[in-house]
């Protein structure tokens, strides 16, 4: 479903601030794979995710999603294939617009916008059902502006928007990291349920090692812009945080504390 081959990216190339963010990253996901990416700060996780999303153009390498070469496509032209939940709860929706308007935009993700009314009577019920899952009462606030919502509500909305039309690939960029523990758990459970029910192929970046071990069927560890360790299936299930830390001398305190 995702084939990344030899991705390289250097920021500020040719200057004294040059920084190699991706140093030949190759990763291949099959349909239904749920891969969790861990790694310390500056390991290249976010750059990798951004390059898959289209926000970062790679210097070298190729990217294919669902068999389509997307290496040269900008973000908005990949949106039909990929959806994304950002770390920042404010990033995934348009604050001055209503919940239903945001949902309407998401329902047309990757499709050309037409001169037809964005909102229709039938769609409301679909939106309600999708939002009811979170138990936050969002389903009764369809006409409220998104900027009035709390961070957790807004992130739940962002997730609902990302899975409203089934993406070929779902990108989760530490999407629970900015939430309080209880909301983070709700959003994570909703994520897992959606991945399960819609048989999504997903790529999740996290700082939380326990999440990395517990969730998904694949674990990818990055360091210095490279994939340094992969585990899948039972190998992955039997991993412990201690093993991961010990084996790779990861002393990133953010990961230990998470």
């Amino acid at each position: 479903m995702l084939t990344a081959t030899g991705l390289r990216k250097t920021f500020n190339a040719g200057t004294t601030n040059a920084r190699i963010a991706l140093d030949g990253v190759s990763l291949s996901l099959d349909e239904g794979d749920f891969a969790v990416i861990i790694g310390g700060n500056g390991a290249g996780k976010s750059t990798f995710l951004n390059s898959v999303a289209g926000e970062v153009t790679v210097d070298e390498g190729t990217l294919a999603i669902a068999g389509r070469d997307v290496t040269a496509l900008p973000t908005h032209r990949r949106a039909g294939l990929v959806s994304r939940v950002f770390q920042d709860p404010l990033a995934g929706s348009a604050g001055p617009m209503t919940i239903e308007e945001n949902m309407a935009l998401a329902s047309r993700r990757g499709l050309p916008s037409r001169l037809r009314f964005a909102l229709g009577g039938k769609r409301r019920e679909t939106y309600r059902q999708m939002l009811r899952v979170f138990g936050l009462g969002l389903e009764n606030r369809l006409t409220h502006k998104v900027e009035l919502l709390s961070g957790g509500q807004r992130q739940s909305l962002a997730l609902a928007m990302a899975i409203l039309t089934t993406p070929k690939l779902l990108l989760l960029d530490e999407h629970c990291a900015a939430l309080d523990p209880k909301t983070a758990e709700t959003v994570m459970q909703a994520t897992l349920a959606a991945v399960e029910n819609q048989r999504l192929t997903a790529l999740m970046v996290t700082h939380n090692m326990q999440h990395a071990i517990d969730y998904g069927n694949r674990l990818v560890m990055m360091m210095d812009g490279r994939v340094v360790f992969e585990a899948r299936g039972d190998d992955k299930k039997n991993l412990t945080i201690e093993q991961l830390v010990e084996r790779f001398h990861l002393v990133d305190d953010k990961m230990l504390l998470a």
Partner: protein, 299 residues
């Protein structure tokens, strides 16, 4: 009592001004409020609309066609500003200044001279109002009707998929891209739309006063911005209908306030300072209260 008399005598003519400048206020509101693209092009697209309409009418063109031609010219001017910003990543205000300055020369080229009288030709008012073309209340009703129709069309447009996408581009470009919305297409068309509204305002004014002048745009941006702020204070901007009503109401109220200032004995030349001071004050209040930025710019 003199002041009141002068003010009342000025009401019809300032009402007409108000509804004509309502188009410009709408054309200024869209970049500032909906697209988060603070833009000065209005200062050039407004006289551009006047120049194109006057030159076309003077050349014998039907006034409706001439007005539509002005609309198209304003659209292109807006597109130019948006393209410069997107292509060169220059500050939107600078892009607008470049375009409006260049338009000064363009406008003189279009008319062949700094101003173009069209007293002899039939204008929009002559054609639509016939024998009553010089009746001020009817002129006001005509333009007010056009303005209301424009605002309603815009409201409907901003509720379509395309219009919703355009609003998303202004509200959160990152999210818009992730939803597959082209920032370029929607920004260019949105700023173009704003430019055409300003140009229509210029075309209407030129036809109403029967001449266009290359300097007719001077200060129009700040007047329009003041009108938008006045309107938002009066009707709010919480919902889309209010956001679209505000410029129209604001333009009418603003020109009444101007006329009051004149009735009180101020010189017309003092008004630019007053308008500037007013806009400054209205922008300063939110930031002094520590509230959100009064004019949002894209990240």
């Amino acid at each position: 009592m003199d002041i009141l008399n002068i003010f009342i005598n000025l009401v019809p003519i300032t009402l007409l001004q108000g509804v004509i400048y309502g188009f410009v206020a709408l054309g200024i509101m869209i970049p500032f409020r909906i697209l988060s693209f603070p833009d000065l092009t209005a200062e050039g697209s407004f006289p551009l609309g006047g120049s194109v309409a006057a030159a076309a009418i003077a050349a014998g063109m039907h006034s409706v066609t001439a007005t539509l031609l002005a609309l198209l010219a304003g659209f292109l001017a807006g597109c130019a500003t948006a393209l410069i910003h997107l292509k060169l990543r220059l500050n939107t205000l600078l892009c607008g200044i470049i375009v409006l300055t260049m338009l000064f020369s363009v406008n003189i080229r279009i008319m062949g001279k700094p101003n173009q009288p069209i007293f002899a030709q039939d204008n929009l008012f002559d054609i639509l109002l016939g024998d009553y073309a010089r009746v001020l209340p009817l002129q006001i009703a005509l333009i007010a009707g056009l303005l209301a129709a424009t605002a309603i069309l815009l409201l409907l447009f901003f509720k379509t998929e395309f219009g919703t996408a355009m609003r998303a581009v202004g509200a959160n470009p990152l999210m818009a891209r992730a939803q597959g919305i082209s920032i370029w297409r929607h920004t260019i068309l949105g700023i173009g739309l704003a430019g055409s509204l300003c140009a229509v305002g210029g075309a209407l004014l030129a036809q109403n006063q029967s001449f266009a002048d290359v300097n007719m745009g001077f200060g129009v941006l700040l007047n329009g911005l003041a009108a938008v702020i006045v309107g938002e204070t009066l009707v709010g901007r919480d919902t889309l209908p209010r956001q679209l009503l505000a410029p129209a109401v604001g333009a009418i109220a603003y020109y009444q306030a101007i006329s009051l200032a004149l009735a009180l004995g101020l010189e017309p030349s003092d008004l630019k300072f007053l308008t500037g001071a007013f806009v400054l004050l209205m922008l300063a209040i939110p930031s002094m209260k520590g509230q959100r930025q009064p004019v949002k710019m894209r990240a």
